[in-house]
Each structure stands twice: as C-alpha cells, then as structure tokens.
Symmetry: C2
C-alpha cells in the first residue's frame, strides 16, 4: 500500500486542481488519509479543501489522532465545525478528547445542540471501556413495526448510520430487546413483525466493560457489531467489527512492546520523536541495571571459588543465558495465551505440571550437550558441575518464566510485564547462585 | 466466556434430551463448539446429533481443526457427509485438507458432484495465500439487472451465502466489474441498473497474494469482505472480515512466539502435548547454547585480565545484560513495526539515524547511573572503564537489535527471527569483548 500512498501524494504535490479533485473523489478515504499525512498540515488542508464537506469528514476520520490535531490548528474554525458535524459519532468523540480546552471552547459553539450533547456523552466514558470506542450512529427499531415499514425506515436512515446490516430492537424506554439482520428483514414475509424475526440473544456488552473483552466477543461470535447497554439494559451505542480489529491490533502491539520492555509509545515507531523513544525505553533499562546488580553481587560473593577455578568462568554465560532463554520461552507462551484468553488465571496448576515435565526434558537435553564441552575443557569434575547446574537452572528458569505472568495477573497487573528482559534478569541472578553453589560443593569435596 | 462454556457443558453432561436440544437451538454455535470440545469425541457426537443437520454444520464449523478430525473419526460416514454438504465452503475445504487419504476416499463419494469440485478447487491453493482462506459462498450479480430484480435474486440466495451485504458484479466471463452494497440496492430507485450504483474500486486481491496482506487490506479499508480474483481478473472467491481477524490474531501469536524463540506450535498452549511443547522449544535453546560459547570464549581469552582485577567480574552481568536489553527493545520495536507494515524495509536508513541518537542518550544515562557504583566498589579507574564500556555496549546492542530485523527481511526471512534471546546472545558476546578490551587498555596503562 506504500506505492498507492506515494502515487496519491505525487498528485497532491503537483497540485493541479482537476486532478486533486478527481483523486479525492475516486480513491478510498483510508488511502487519501495516508497520503495527506505525508504533507505539512497547511498543504494538507489546502488539498483536503477541494473535496465536498461529507467527503472531507470521511477522510478526516482516517487520519491519525496526532495529524487530526495538527490539521485542526491550521484550518478555519468554521470548516472544522462543518467536518465535525459530518464525522462518525465515535471518531468525533475521539477527536474531542484530544483537543485542548481552548480548542474545545472555540469548536463547540459552532456545533448544533444535538451534536454537542452526543460528543460530551461519548467523550465521558473512561479510556479502555466499551463506552470509549462505541458509536451512537446505530439504527434502532420498535418491536411491533412490520418488516416492510422497518425497511422503509432503514432506507431513510441508512446514510447517517455506521451499519444498518444489524438493527437493534428497543422498547419505549430504549431497553434492548433483540436485533434483526437486514438480510432477515428483506427475506421476511411483508407483514411479519420485527419482534417475530428478531434474534433475542444479542450478546450485549456493558458500557463499562473492558474494551478488549468487547473486541474478543465480536471475534468470538463473528458478528458485524455488538450492542452496548447501560446498567439498566438501555441501548447506548454499538461497537463495530472494524473498531474491534483496531483494538485487537493495538493491544497486540502493546503486549509485544511490553515483553520487549518498551513502555507505552504514543505514536508509531516510524513517526515517534527521539524524546518519545527515549522515554519509552529508559525506565526499564534502569530497573534492569539494578536487577543485574544481584548477579554481580552473586559473582562477587563466590570470588574465591572463581579465583581457584578460573575455568568455571568459561561456562558462566552459557549456563545463565540458558536459564534466561528457557524462562523467556515459558513467559512468552503464557503471556500470549493469557492475552488471547486461551488459558485463564485459574489454569496455572494444570499448566505448571506440564511445564515441569517439559523443563526437565529440556534441562536434560541441554546438560547432555554441554557435558561434552565440559569434559574437553575442564575434565570430568567440571563436566559434572555444569551438567547438574544446567538441569537445575533450566528448570528454575522455566518455572520463573511460567509463574511470573500468572502471579502478575493475580495481582491485577498486566501479565506482559513479565517481559523477556525481566525474566532473564531474575533467571540470571538465580543461575549464578545455583552454578557457584554446586561448584563450591563438588569442587571442594575431598 | 469461560463460565458460559461450563454452563453449557453441564447441560450436555447431564444429558437430558429436552435440555440438550433446547440448548443446541438457543446458544451461539461458537459457545456450543467450545463446550463440545471439553467432552470426549464419542460423547460430543452423541450430543451434537440432537441438532438438525444445518445447525450441526454451523457448530461443526466453529470447532478446532483437531477436534473436527477426532469427531470425523467417531461419527458415521453418512452423517459426516451430510454435515460437510451444509458447511460453509471455506470451512469445508479446510476440513478436507486435514483429512487422511483414507478418510477423503470414504467421504467424497457421499457428496454431490458440485460440492466435490468446489472442495477440490478450494483445497488446491497453497497455505498462506488468499486462495487458501477464501470462500466460494459469495453472491454475484450481472451489471444490467435492475435493483429490484437484484434484490429478489439476493433474497432467494441469502441462506446459502456468507454475506449478501456486499455483492460482486461480474460480466459473462465472471470478470469482476465492481461491487454493490445491500444498503445501496435497497435505497436505489427501483429501475436503477446494478451497473449504475456499483462501486468500481473494489480493492480486489489476487488468489496467490499473501493472506496477511489480504487481511491487512480488509482492516485498512474497513470493509466486510474483499473479492479474490485469478490472473485473468475473474472472480473466484471472497475473504470475509471475520476470517481476516482470525488471520491477524494467528499472525500476531506466531510473531509473539517467534521473538520468544518458540517455534511453530500446532495447538494452543492450553492443549498442546508435552512432546509438542518440547519440540517447539529445544531447537532454539540448543542454538543459543552454542551462541553463548562465544561469550565464554571471550571471557576465557581475557582470563589474565580477570585474574588481575577480580573486581571487574562484579560489573560483567550488568554491562552485558544492558547491551542485550537495549538490543531487545530495538528489535521488538522493529519486528512489530515491520509486521504491521508501519515501516518498510526501505525505511532502514531513516530509522538508523534516530536509533543512533536514542542509543547514545540511553548509553550516557546508564553510564552515569553505573559510574557511581563503580567509584564506590572499584575506584575511579574501574568507574571509567565501566562507564565507557556501558556507552559503547548500549550503542552496539541497540544497533544490532535494530538492524537484524531489517537484514532478515532483506534476506526474505521473517524479521521476528531476530528474537530477543538471539539479539541478547549476540549482544552478550560483543559486550564481553568491548568490556575487557577497554579494561585491558585502561588498567594496563602506566
């Protein structure tokens, strides 16, 4: 899609009015947004202004939040208000949340009363809840309407709704009764009532439910949208499949970064500033420095043993790295399985048993491999020390890597905090103690 | 969703015919499949047999491939054939691919000719291509049909199609001309022709395109489905939004595992067998053992320096771990950004410059932190050695972590092969050399 962006960008940069207008009408808003974001904000606004306002709103909705903000500051306030009026309810509320107090004060009076209230309401839900990503552009029907009348109504409302493929059935108090697929409305006998053809089981989510849980529910049930209800069961919005996909992508990226000890990055790697990148990395690096002091202290403690048997040093990196590597593998498997919901916190006992067996097998295999090098480089006594150490270190490392994500989950922390470098640091320090303790016992035996 | 599975499972286990039949009719097929998978295959089949065959097919489509296979071996062949006839075309082709030759031979004669050909065709596409996940259950229209007639046709076809929300417009040779949203068909004037209201820009994908690229295109354009065409532009299938979501989930898991040096796991962690888990982990652990021999050899090479200055050993774990940790962060950021398409292989130069600046800043910060400990534990000379080493090690580690994913991409390997443990191993060995070389120069100076 890189080439598409460049092609559109070239047309924008050339600036021929006819070509720009035609491109803005013909290409997909997602591609147009990608191309606009490669321009400076003033040039981007000059370009975007060639499109009709409804189209401007479509394209604006696909821009990154940062770029929306940049554009909002360079364009005339009345033009911004016109775009905001036309935007999807959820995109509009997201933009509002990013605006400064001053920008909000400038924008809001230019909007109609209904839009103002809708924006304030949608923007009031906490980040990370279903309410924060839902939209109010859903279609709703009363239960006793006929299928024909329902279709007429949907026909009229279609242009303002995010989807009419699934319509929600509500009573006079807006309580959710069920949902109807457009497909079923079309194929229903003309005089059938909406209540007769609706599905009761709508898998509604609560407005304060976790947004990830909502996204997983959409994936689980393969639906186009899920209804969102308040504590009284009243319909307040819907979450659509495309937003669910975005949530799951963002969540996967966040977990991915977290296991690599990168903290929240507000922008993509390609666009993040140097201070942003520095901030996302320095804290964990510092924590880990101090974590590794324990390994250093362990080595210092066994200085005499090391001085007497310098050959032990050759095997130190191999042994402690193996514990860390085995632990990283276990942590990786657990973090992802907990994130996707494949296993739950209560499964830890069941997983522990298998992990132990696997770890013993892995430890024995690696001990066998390293024993040979041990005999060659240090003789049978050293070989015995490093083989025994390897088995124990791999087992302990694996168990640390496996248990840490569960423990963090239990403490209501993100399991992905059990990052590879954290597990490695803990396994390293443990490995140093195990290795030199075993060496001390065996090599000082008479 | 765990509790839902357990509730349904309890009803299945109790085995009261009325309750089982009612549950099979009322609950969502995804939940029913989850519950069935907790039973032994014979008990699962006895339970499933209480549903009408169309419902059986719906539920069967939601089972994991492994469980589908287990069920296929315990159920009568005619029942299996009946289910297969009713299944979605893509789920059916996936099942066929999993069957043994013997099972295929038993099943195929029981199917109608059209189904046999459709299965063989869909199953013939290579894994990882758009063809391998597309379905042939799409609705297609000729361009000169009126909107009213098109609706009548769709009404009739709806039950057999995965989606009629977007219908594809094809000419007499099945060449793709455009697509029509159901929404637009409904709101169109009755005498409008399909060709007048169709969108030309259908963002078709080629049957041999990468499946991930296809999934990203669905996410990018926020569409319900994308058409798949052959080399002559003829429509051969569609990929739907729910399949795109599954592909992106699976891909994220695979990348996640790969950066944790876990190789392809055919089942989920919760269900994988001990030999499967062992196989997914042992190969990389062994590779890394031998990788760490370089670090050991580096230490052995500097044995005299170490023997003369045993205090150096205290700082060894901190210094080499810091290089590995900084490298892991860089690799994590790059692997994910390359996977999501946020940056491309050609961006490496642009990223390198920023990475270098960030790495210098990080290295200086960490050197400052560790210098204090150095003065306390080893005096100013040691403090100088470790500070200098820290700056260099963090810079080199970061650059290794950043460049390796690009290099692997360039060599047509998966960038996620630049796993955290691999980067750590390489950074470790480099760190040992940097540290002791600097120590050697500074501490032996007159």
């Amino acid at each position: 899609m890189q080439t598409k962006t460049n092609d559109i960008r070239d047309i924008f940069l050339a600036g021929a009015t006819d070509a720009v207008t035609a491109t803005l009408a013909a290409e997909h808003p997602a591609d147009l947004a990608d191309a606009l974001q490669t321009l400076d904000p003033p040039a981007a606004w000059t370009t975007l202004a060639h499109a009709p306002v409804a189209r401007q709103a479509d394209i604006f909705g696909y821009l990154d939040h940062e770029f929306q903000m940049l554009l909002a500051t360079v364009m005339p306030r009345t033009d911004l208000a016109a775009i905001v009026m036309e935007m999807n309810a959820d995109d509009r509320a997201d933009l509002y949340k990013e605006l400064s107090d001053q920008q909000r004060k400038a924008l809001m009076p230019a909007l109609a009363q209904a839009e103002r209230e809708d924006i304030r309401r949608l923007a009031s839900y906490d980040e990370g809840t279903a309410g924060a990503i839902m939209t109010s552009d859903y279609a709703a029907l009363p239960p006793d309407l006929s299928a024909t009348k329902a279709l007429t109504m949907l026909r009229r409302e279609a242009p303002d709704k995010e989807t009419i493929y699934r319509t929600y059935v509500i009573d006079a108090e807006r309580r959710l009764l069920g949902s109807v697929r457009l497909q079923d409305l079309i194929t229903a006998p003309a005089q059938a009532r909406v209540a007769d053809i609706m599905e009761i089981n709508t898998h509604a989510i609560r407005v304060d439910d976790d947004v990830e849980a909502a996204a997983r529910k959409i994936a689980h049930y393969d639906v186009i949208a899920l209804p969102v209800v308040d504590t009284d069961g009243r319909l307040v919005g819907i979450i659509t499949h495309d937003d669910a996909l975005d949530v799951m992508e963002a969540e996967a990226t966040e977990d991915f970064h977290r296991v690599g000890t990168v903290t929240r990055l507000e922008a993509g790697v390609g666009t993040a500033s140097i201070p942003m990148l520095y901030r996302a990395r320095i804290a964990w690096l510092m924590v880990l420095v101090f974590g590794n002091i324990f390994s250093g202290a362990g080595i210092a403690y066994f200085e005499d043993t090391i001085a007497a048997h310098l050959a032990l040093m050759f095997f130190l990196p191999i042994l402690i790295a193996s514990g860390g590597n085995a632990g990283s593998q276990s942590a990786t498997l657990m973090v992802r399985a907990l994130a996707t919901g494949e296993i739950g916190v209560s499964d830890w006992g069941r997983v522990l048993g298998r992990e132990l067996v696997v770890a013993i097998l892995l430890g024995l295999s690696m001990a066998a491999a390293i024993a040979i090098i041990g005999v060659v480089r240090g003789g049978p006594e050293i070989a015995l020390v490093i083989s025994l150490s390897m088995v124990l270190i791999v087992i302990v490392g694996s168990l640390i890597g496996m248990l840490l994500p569960f423990l963090l989950s239990k403490l209501n922390m993100d399991p992905a905090t059990a990052s590879t470098p954290l597990v490695t640091s803990i396994a390293d320090a443990t490995g140093v103690l195990i290795y030199f303790s075993i060496a001390n016992v065996i090599l000082t035996m008479p």
